[in-house]
Amino acid sequence: MSKTYFDETHCAIGHPKSKFMQWMLTVDHKRIGIMYAAVMFFYFFIAVATAFMMRLELFAPGGQFMDGDTFNQAFTLHGVIMIFLFIVPGIPAIFGNIVMPLMIGAKDVSFPRLNWFTFWLYVVGTVVAMSSLFTDAGFADTGWTFYAPYSINTSTNVIFTLVAAFILGMASILTGLNFLVTIHRLRAPGMDFWKMPLFVWGIYATAWIQLLATPVVGITLILAIMEKYFGIGIFDPAKGGDPVLFEHLFWIYSHPAVYLMILPAFGIMSEIIPVFSRREIFGYRAIAISSASIAGIGYLVWGHHLYTSGMADTAKVIFSFLTFFVAIPTGIKFYDWIATMYKGKVILSTPMLWALGTIITFTIGGLTGVTIAMIGVDIHLQDTYYTVAHFHYAMLGGVVFLLFAGMHYWFPLVTGKMYDEKHGKISFYIQFVGFNLLWFPMFIAGYYGMPRRYFDYLPEFQIYHQLSFFGAVIFISGLVYMFVVFYKGWTKGKPAGTNPWNATTLEWHLPSSPPPLENHSKVPYVDFNPYEYHHGHPVVKFNYETMQRID
């Protein structure tokens, strides 16, 4: 092999000597993924803390220590961080970067330097988003959706958040573009689309959404800025504009964005279930195609956010039915996963526990979503705690739980060490109990009419808020516990070896753990399906030096 500038330090610019600068300038996809994770979890904990402050405020009716305006800013901060900084880039940026190229046997993504640039664009976006916290006018109080005309009229610093969301959207587009080209061009010889691991399918469907939907919200945010600062009139009724147009344009992106969050998470599920059932996945093609069809249908359902905003009845009915259709491919996936476990040798390791827990929580989150897709029910439940509980069950109990599952699953791959299984399991149970105690009462409170985004409430809702509060305490303790387990695993864990889970996909067939620069020692020829087990043992074995099959 000839040496390129890239071989020596894997840096975008020059050959820095210091370890720190080597990380900052790295184009290595694994390091970039780890840096994404570090930045994201930093913001994640800020958002968790904000949410906990809101729960504290809501412990009793009336104002405790926050006034209404501060509360508005608090839920906006929570939403903006969780959506734009954490969960939208989340799994693709972390595991799409770390694992996807390994899974397809590539040396890196298609555009490594663009990947590096994208990471820093993301960091700039996060800094811009946070900077308005330190200005006089204060952080935006519009909610993460920036609905016009309020976002046009508010005196808080919405422009920072709008610009930040645009920059983060740009980073998201570039990540998606990079992954699309990578998956199309850099698969190892012999690996056709039907031999790709399902996580890669998830990333592939996600990348299309990132590419096709994000530009629309990008221009919407620019139009909102133009409206607010140059008065072009497009969203301002005082100049003939139509605020509902903003809602349409916003949700044309932001509803597909929901599927953009969940599809890679489903991909993680599809990796974990066969490995810990020691059985080939049931309905591989059905799962792969359902990812693609969720992405496709998900594009056409945005109107269900606007049932109460003023829309033709025919349009409402069409949007309602299209929304029901999303449940079909999602259901196919769930039945396939359960069928995979049937007659399998189920091993209840921590990643599998998280995956199984998610089957419960996401089913609740998904099915409550179907109920509010019905027009009549939605009129009653729109903007109540029912909706809040629904999307937290889907997002936290779906996407983030599966992100945690993936973190346990790929922890030995990334660090080369093993965390403590016993403590990992305990932290799962604590979080699972805390999670349900935190969110389930909100379904009931919402059904009885507790509106979302209020800092005060009627005394009859107190019991639900207090249950939620105790759930939050338990959940956050479990969360901290889990990260302590990770930290201890990383510093003091036992070496894990290259394939601790007896998994079959290519990221577990590396010469060392953690993986070396440039990944596999040789690119393998792929003439096997991703999850081949025979009597509970992986079929495909490699010589890790030559990457020739030896089974």
């Binding site: 500038y5 298609s110 573009l177 990079n178 080209v181 061009r185 497009i234 003439d527 099959r549």
Partner: protein, 229 residues
């Protein structure tokens, strides 16, 4: 880069050898990536055209009146300038592909000059509109003015879209100057011209967007002025 990139070989179980596509020297990958990026540009402008069409259906007469007041001479000249610049850009790429580097550079310079001319003409146009009291945050466009809603929306979107298009022209000029530097440094060569290819593609999208902007803004009201409905 030190030394040319040599692709790896993967061997299957029957001993057959398969060349591995690396991220290095991936001409088609580079093209695919840039096509996808251009697709996002189309979606961005597409959303604005959708907003424009929506308000057009709400205020058809206002849109015709506002369109009639635009300067078709300057707009038309700009269209011609931009189309010629697309031609010079394409000729530059053709020259690069057959190895005529000097001619290619000349054509890129011609494109830069035409792009600058476009911006200057656009500037005159905006200035004339400003003098008529129509500009962002100015006179007729303020909330209290008597200009009808539809015209305000028309001009609001007009300045946003032509402004964003002009911004793309400025970026394009920057890209072309960078391209010239890369050609001079022999980083872009006849056998390695993906950057040239992609910038030419970018320029095509920029002129393509204008080809849609021009009729929708300048021509829909032309009938009222020329008398031919």
């Amino acid at each position: 880069m030190s030394g040319p990139y040599v692709p790896e070989i993967a061997t299957d179980r029957d001993g057959n050898q398969h060349e591995v596509q690396g991220w290095q020297d991936d001409f088609y990958g580079g093209k695919l990536g840039f096509w996808l990026f251009m697709f996002t540009e189309v979606l961005m402008f597409g959303a604005m055209f959708m907003a424009l069409a929506y308000y057009n259906t709400l205020h058809p007469q206002d849109f015709l009146d506002a369109s009639a007041s635009l300067n078709r001479l300057l707009g038309g000249v700009n269209t011609v300038v931009l189309l010629i610049s697309a031609l010079t850009m394409g000729l530059g790429l053709l020259n690069m592909r057959v190895g005529k580097v000097k001619e290619a550079k000349l054509m890129i310079w011609a494109t830069i000059i035409l792009a600058a001319a476009f911006l200057v003409i656009k500037g005159f146009e905006w200035r004339a509109e400003y003098n008529h009291g129509i500009f962002l945050m100015h006179d007729q466009m303020l909330p209290g003015s008597s200009l009808p809603f539809g015209q305000k929306l028309f001009f609001g979107l007009y300045f946003t879209m032509t402004g964003l298009h002009g911004f793309h022209i400025i970026i394009g000029i920057g890209l072309m100057i960078w391209l010239l530097k890369r050609i001079n440094a022999e980083k872009v060569r006849p056998d390695h011209h993906i950057l040239h290819w992609n910038i030419a593609l970018y320029w095509d999208i920029v002129h393509l967007i204008w080809v849609f902007v021009f009729p929708y803004y300048y021509m829909i009201g032309a009938g009222g002025v020329t008398g031919g409905h």
